[in-house]
Symmetry: C3
Subunit: 206 residues, 3 copies
């Protein structure tokens, strides 16, 4: 089950990579490359930092092929269904939520503690998108004023607490994924920001 | 023989790093650093992902020193021979072709499969240049509309097929390097692009 | 003693990350994340390249917590004490000097040679700041014309020579840190540049 959740996350992030490329004048191969890097980048950094060998997409190349096919389909799909472009932030929210919790699950399985698991979850969730945004010359989403990394933090802390209190209950990871996704979608929908005193510019205005 | 090919690739990428720096107002040490990072960055990522320890330029510091000397020579060379500036894309093409195939060779030697070898080849070939372009604030070459990563893909797939069909024939790697270099040079010379339906902007124009 | 020096370096770099974020419109979590990445990024890359497992902040999460608290304090501190903003380059100089020498110390302890130690020192010292600058869309400080990486080089070479000639004298690392910090502060104060023939633009002017 978790395996398929991972593949869904890979598909979601591949699609965001392809859509992000749309603002530039790029050929199919560069775009597919961008989709694959976005999808596999976060997990690659996670496995490098945790020294989990071999890297997940080398151990099981299914991840790579799924990412490749999803990128190619998305490349041709966006021109048929232009509405797909509006899916960008939702696909990104889905990838963020799934990758964050999956990385924590992997950290726990490898025997790391709560702090490490939460940090690795957040890093894995956001790194793919950060690399995507840097390569396409956009300001990384996570660096914006909008609620981006905070849903990942809340979900990650929830999952850590749940693992601490109810280590045998397997459903908490799906709850945590939902929390991140729903919070992020709400942030997109209603433009949720932190209150002014928790953003940086305030002290310059007042 | 392969060892010297690797050193040539290091020299080529060091020179591109130094030339790329020329658009900025930088001191000699930053420029040499940029040359070294460009030359050694791709292989470093390759060795980290494949968990090949120690990293190639730690195992044999010759790579590092060659890169350092090449960068310094290039720094002083470009002002004597201004024509060197025009060599940028050709040196980049040379580095791309050599690093791609050398990384595949190393992947095969470490026992990895065809998919992994092709992916690592392409990553190794392009990462040095991507880091160089991000550090100097340029749009990464690989993200352009021009035929950049595609020659690397074609050469890498050719080499993988050759290794599969004729595993004992040692010449195929040199063929593959030539394929990448020649295709990339053709792309620069005649401005080869993908046809419109394989680039992203099309659907917005029509 | 070295342990506390490391924590001071983490605090210094965390603060620079938070201050750097101030030019953008970011929420507290993104800013704290930036502080933590700036503080821990260089050492993470060092441990990945040297294959030192586990990564330092996983082996001892104190580093992570200190970075987190320092970032939060800095976030609220800068609006009370606006003068803190002027500390940016000095905190950066402090982090640069401490991280460079600490990374060399770690390299030597792991049995690596002089070349590797010097390279790792410089990489560790500058990587955190480079990531910070890329994420906030600034031109990396190290890529400027000002004396930035050169103090790190001079201090690193001094320390390598000292370790070679007086391997039993423990004070040389503190000397080396002071050299880097003082040179960098002088560079900031008096705007030290390389002479024109050692910067790149010269040949185009003349």
């Amino acid at each position: 089950m978790l395996y398929y959740v991972g593949l869904i996350a890979v598909v979601a992030f591949s699609v965001t990579g392809v859509i992000a490329a749309g603002k530039k004048d790029m050929d199919i191969f560069s775009i597919v490359l961008l989709g694959v890097v976005t999808a596999l980048g976060g997990g690659t950094l996670r496995d490098i930092i945790l020294d989990a060998n071999p890297i997940f997409w080398i151990a099981d190349t299914t991840y790579f092929w799924v990412s490749l096919v999803a990128s190619i389909v998305a490349f041709f799909g966006v021109r048929v269904v232009t509405r797909l472009l509006k899916l960008f932030e939702y696909a990104d929210a889905l990838g963020l939520s799934l990758f964050t919790i999956l990385a924590m699950e992997k950290s726990f399985n490898l025997g790391f503690g709560y702090t490490t698991a939460v940090v690795m979850g957040i890093i894995t969730g956001i790194v793919g998108g950060v690399v995507r945004d840097i390569l396409t010359g956009r300001t990384p989403l996570v660096m914006g004023r909008e609620f981006y990394a905070t849903p990942a933090l809340i979900g990650a802390v929830f999952f850590a607490v749940a693992m601490c209190c109810f280590p045998t209950f397997g459903g908490s990871k799906y709850f945590a994924m939902c929390i991140i996704f729903v919070l992020r979608v709400c942030a997109i929908r209603w433009g949720l920001y932190y209150p002014r005193w928790l953003t940086y510019k305030t002290y310059q205005d007042s």
